[in-house]
């Protein structure tokens, strides 16, 4: 069954009315997708560290248990750090959702097929790794439902959204890593956030 969802529409839907949602995007197309949907200080788009998006989301979810955290990444990026699904499964963060925008291609390098093009099922992997729910999504109605679950579901939650293979205009976020980090911390933690919030318990 060929997908008919388009990645930018999927991501825009997921991020609509995002409230206080904290968002991490993986290296490549998903970082451009979240930027096309509207850049935010509470978004952390990755320009490197392929394979680390889900783990960055886990660290954030554990540090901010009262906030909802959404990782949006690609199939190639998720495959590179697939062990993260097992690590998340062990930690069981209820506030974390990992969404893979799955075009079955390495979109930044010439559209070579990824493992998912050969039938590797990331949702099944996530399920086997003890995610509370993990599903493959092919319709916009399901994406709308997923958007609600991102804000309410007691996770960890996983979704693999099958999208068409398409080359889109780049919509680039800022690429200064320090600025991305500082704006995120300032927006989340307040002015002190650019420096430090958790002061040492005893003087060292």
């Amino acid at each position: 069954m060929k997908p008919n969802l388009r990645r930018r529409e999927v991501v825009k839907t997921l991020l609509s009315n995002r409230k206080n949602l904290l968002v991490v995007a993986g290296l490549g197309s998903t970082s451009w997708d979240i930027t096309a949907a509207g850049d935010s200080s509470l978004s952390f788009p990755s320009w490197g560290a392929m394979g680390q998006a889900a783990m960055t989301g886990l660290g954030l979810a554990l540090a901010q248990p009262k906030r909802r955290v959404l990782v949006i990444t690609g199939d190639g990026e998720m495959l590179m750090g697939m062990g993260a699904l097992a690590t998340i499964g062990v930690q069981q963060p209820p506030n974390l959702t990992v969404v893979v925008i799955d075009n079955e291609r390495y979109g930044e390098t010439g559209m070579q097929a990824t493992h998912t093009a050969y039938g590797v099922d990331l949702a099944a992997v996530a399920r086997a790794c003890k995610f509370k729910e993990a599903k493959e999504i092919r319709t916009l109605d399901e994406v709308e439902r997923l958007r609600e679950l991102v804000h309410t579901f007691s996770g960890p939650l996983f979704a693999d959204v099958k999208v068409i293979e398409e080359k889109l205009p780049l919509v680039l976020p800022p690429n200064d890593g320090v600025a991305l980090k500082d704006r995120f911390r300032r927006a989340l933690l307040g002015e002190l956030g650019a420096g430090e919030v958790n002061l040492p318990r005893t003087p060292s």
């Binding site: 680390q52 954030l60 554990l62 540090a63 062990g83 993260a84 690590t87 890593g177 005893t202």
Partner: protein, 177 residues
């Protein structure tokens, strides 16, 4: 086998004093006691990783969320984090890694030697400051200095605990740990 000097207990107390709340690790026999101390602390979350590389994302996310973290790994694991360290450098993320060394004097497994020999240079090449703790009495002081720079100056710091501090020389001794 208890270490002669309780450096793991001292390092644990430094982590507590620095308000480290999250500890990612891939186990090493030399860090068994430190891992157990972190696991037993209700104010700390000890997170087992499938590969050390995951620890870099974990530390990055924790810092974005305002939490201090530490990573524990064996020297072999340093080889697994190289590319991810690019994010630490470009985002100037605080990073504290405690590395127990293999492949040094007394190593019984020759396959541990190449990465052990390269560990310090690999870290330095990727912008991580290296502190070599060659004696059990010095580990905690190095850890304290590294934690301070990591979290107060957003530095990337690694403390390398020499194999002679760990003192594992054979499979038999490792089995008895």
């Amino acid at each position: 086998m208890q270490p002669r000097h309780d450096w793991p207990g001292e390092v644990y107390r430094e982590l507590v004093a620095a308000n480290v709340r999250l500890v990612g690790y891939v186990p090493d026999a030399g860090q068994k006691r430190l891992i157990e101390l972190c696991q037993a602390d209700k104010n700390m979350r000890a997170v087992p990783l499938t590969t050390e590389e995951e620890g870099i994302g974990l530390a990055a996310g924790a810092w974005l969320g305002g939490m201090r973290s530490a990573l524990l790994m064996q020297s072999s694991g340093v080889g697994n984090i190289i590319n991810a360290l690019g994010m630490v450098k470009v985002c100037r993320l605080p990073l504290f890694i405690l590395v127990t060394m293999r492949g040094e004097k007394g190593e019984f497994n020759p396959w541990q030697v190449p990465m052990g020999e390269a560990t310090a240079r690999v870290l330095e090449t990727m912008g991580v400051a290296v502190r070599q703790a060659g004696e059990p009495e010095t580990v905690a002081a190095h850890a304290r200095a590294a934690l301070r720079i990591a979290f107060q100056a957003q530095g990337a710091e690694a403390v390398l605990v020499a194999q002679k501090v760990i003192g594992i020389k054979s499979f038999q001794e490792q089995a008895n740990q």
